[in-house]
């Protein structure tokens, strides 16, 4: 393939979510929604791997990486970070009417933005993380693929080959007991697992670019989406109640009375062996 002519390049869109970094997340008991204040935000780790894969493919084949995120205005931080890894362009979808969207509404909004983007330039590939660590739903990527009618390849652990001219991609998908190799036509949507790559340590100029970059902001005046399909209104699922998992019963400390290690070992074995050793299983 002749890269220099620029005839075959790929444009890749990456959907990423800014998520709270720790599991110290609390719910607002009044609204049953996430309270995100005071918790450091990061790019969802799986999405970071999606971005890395997009950058690697772009560096190999040529083209552009455009990063999209739906979220509150503060999510520009994660998009600037994406630029600092080397993405070419970043767009934040933010609007009050988007707030409270579940996965169904979120995939609707992202799809709307991707379609708008595709009026400007073609997109060959969309990459997402396999799931977000805050919601763990793994639904938005498949939702976008369904809405666009594109092939969906989830849990991708390796991009074996991408051929912009043949309009096809070959990937490995991680399964419970191994993997499978699939070929799909382009355009396609991939969700990726962490094993797919190692995240780069970007060159300094990309970091400076990230620090200076002005993220594009799109709201619903840009997207013209159906208001009944947005936000809480457009979300069929809702949290009816929340609780904490039952605490485990208070445990037993063995050998507090200065017993020797051998005595404690014997004591522990006494406790465990009847439960554990199931003969000839």
């Amino acid at each position: 393939m002749n890269i220099m002519e620029g005839a075959f390049v790929i444009n890749i869109a990456v959907c990423l979510k800014q998520v709270p970094d720790t599991s110290e997340v609390r719910l607002d008991p009044k609204t049953n929604t996430l309270k995100r204040e005071g918790i450091p935000s990061i790019i969802n780790p799986y999405d970071a791997h999606a971005l890395e894969e997009a950058l690697t493919l772009r560096d190999q084949v040529g083209g552009q990486v455009i990063v999209l995120s739906m979220g509150p205005p503060q999510a520009v931080q994660s998009l600037k970070k994406a630029i600092s890894y080397g993405a070419d362009r970043a767009i934040l979808l933010t609007d009050r009417v988007f707030a409270g969207s579940d996965t169904l509404a979120t995939s609707y909004i992202l799809t709307g933005a991707l379609q708008k983007l595709m009026q400007e330039e073609p997109i060959d590939l969309i990459l997402c993380g396999k799931q977000a660590i805050d919601g763990d739903t793994a639904q938005v990527g498949p939702g976008i693929a369904s809405r666009l009618g594109w092939p969906l390849l989830t849990y991708v652990s390796k991009v074996e080959k991408i051929s912009p001219q043949a309009r096809e991609i070959m990937v490995h998908r991680k399964l419970e007991e191994g993997r499978e190799v699939l070929r799909a036509s382009l355009p396609a949507l991939l969700t990726v697992v962490k094993e797919i790559n190692e995240i780069r340590y970007a060159p300094l100029p990309d970091l400076i670019r990230g620090a200076t970059y002005a993220v594009e902001i799109w709201n619903n005046e840009d997207l013209h989406l159906d208001p009944t399909q947005l936000g809480l209104k457009g979300s069929p699922t809702w949290v009816s109640k929340t609780g904490t998992p039952p605490l485990r019963e208070k445990g037993e400390m063995l050998g507090k009375d200065q017993a020797s290690s051998a005595q404690i070992a014997s004591l522990l074995a006494e406790r465990l062996i009847p439960d554990i050793v199931v003969p000839n299983r």
């Binding site: 599991s23 439960d275 554990i276």
Partner: protein
């Protein structure tokens, strides 16, 4: 307005006649929910040459089976299965649709829910019914496992949920006659299918899979060195279990990522989990706190791991592990003798 959707459906995940156990687990739970709701329970089978599977679905308590038999449905591909399942749902309007939260279930459910424009709750650990409102109460851990959220789906059908394997017990198969089988057609031509499975590579790990094992001995940074981590393997071997690890141990290069337990590794619920030299950061706890018995060995009496431990031992894990391993070996020998006698 059309008739109110009725019936609980369970997607039977199968390939070449092999059914994922979670599908049977869901049939058991589905029966309970259907009885509570006063509706029927059906299995949905998509594949090729699936008659045997269909018969087995009845043995797990189905009132009826919905099925599409088409060569394009084997092996599983998102495109063909979502197409077939969406078609069946549109034609027959189920009230509830359940799937296993397996790779396939998670791949398929998001596509189907989007095309049906309905709600979907992933990775449920508990299901119930609000009989009066005819709502499926879908409970799942949220936000790092610290909170359980119960989620409802309003005004859309089917109400969809995926459920983690091993949450519900697998029911016994009963001798039951086959009953109604509703067969659908896949309205896809081979040329319409844009994804092709080139090959499957089974990577059966010699030692099995961490999330499918009953006994896990996991080591953390408290062990100090890679050499000491061998002590974890030794005890795991003596107990017939597998070695697990905390993230710091994996990051130190003492063991591979496929042994990592926690938020960013495997979630496990073995019968026995021994945490050696693991302090018990929240991200680790969420991956293992559902174990039946937890043994914590740590030098630091204030280590958070002791808060979830069934048995706690304040000791240097590197010192204690070999002593306990010997003890186990001694007793295992005794056990074997007793069993023979």
């Amino acid at each position: 307005m059309a008739e109110h959707p009725l019936g609980i459906w369970v997607y039977i995940e199968q390939e070449k006649g092999q059914v994922a156990p979670v599908s049977w687990e869901l049939m058991g739970e589905g029966r309970r929910l259907a009885d509570k709701l006063g509706t029927s329970l059906s299995g949905v089978v998509l594949g090729h040459q699936i008659d045997k599977v269909i018969n087995r679905v009845f043995a797990y308590g189905a009132d009826s089976v919905y099925a599409i038999d088409d060569p394009l449905l084997e092996p599983y591909r998102n495109q063909t299965h979502s197409h077939g399942l969406v078609q069946l749902c549109r034609d027959h309007q189920p009230e509830i649709l359940l799937m296993g939260a397996t790779t396939t279930g998670r791949d398929l459910s998001g596509s189907v829910a989007t095309q049906l424009a309905t709600g979907l709750t992933a990775d449920c650990t508990e299901l119930d019914i609000d009989v009066e409102k005819r709502k499926l109460l879908q409970t799942r851990p949220a936000f790092g496992g610290n909170i359980l959220a119960t989620i409802l789906c309003r005004d859309r059908w089917p109400q969809m949920a995926t459920v983690r394997p091993r949450v519900f017990p697998e029911p016994e198969a009963q001798k039951a006659p086959s009953s109604t089988v509703v067969r659908g057609k896949l309205s896809l031509q081979p040329k319409d299918v844009t994804v092709e499975v080139i090959k499957r590579i089974n990577e059966e790990r010699k030692e099995g899979y961490l999330d499918g094992t009953d006994i896990i001995v996991a080591g953390g940074r408290g062990l100090g060195t890679k050499e000491n981590f061998q002590l974890v393997h030794n005890l795991a071997q003596a107990l017939g279990g597998m070695a697990g690890a905390s993230r710091p141990a994996v990051e130190s290069g003492w063991i591979s990522y496929s042994h990592q337990v926690g938020q960013t590794g495997y979630s496990v619920r073995p019968k026995l989990y021994i945490a050696a030299g693991i302090s018990g950061a929240i991200q680790h706890l969420v991956g293992m706190q559902n174990a039946e018995i937890i043994v914590a060995i740590n030098k630091d009496p204030d280590a958070p791991i002791f808060r979830v431990a069934t048995y706690g031992i304040i000791a240097d894990a590197a010192e204690f592990l070999p002593i306990f391993t010997e003890e186990v070996k001694k007793r295992m020998e005794g056990k074997a003798v007793t069993a023979k006698a």
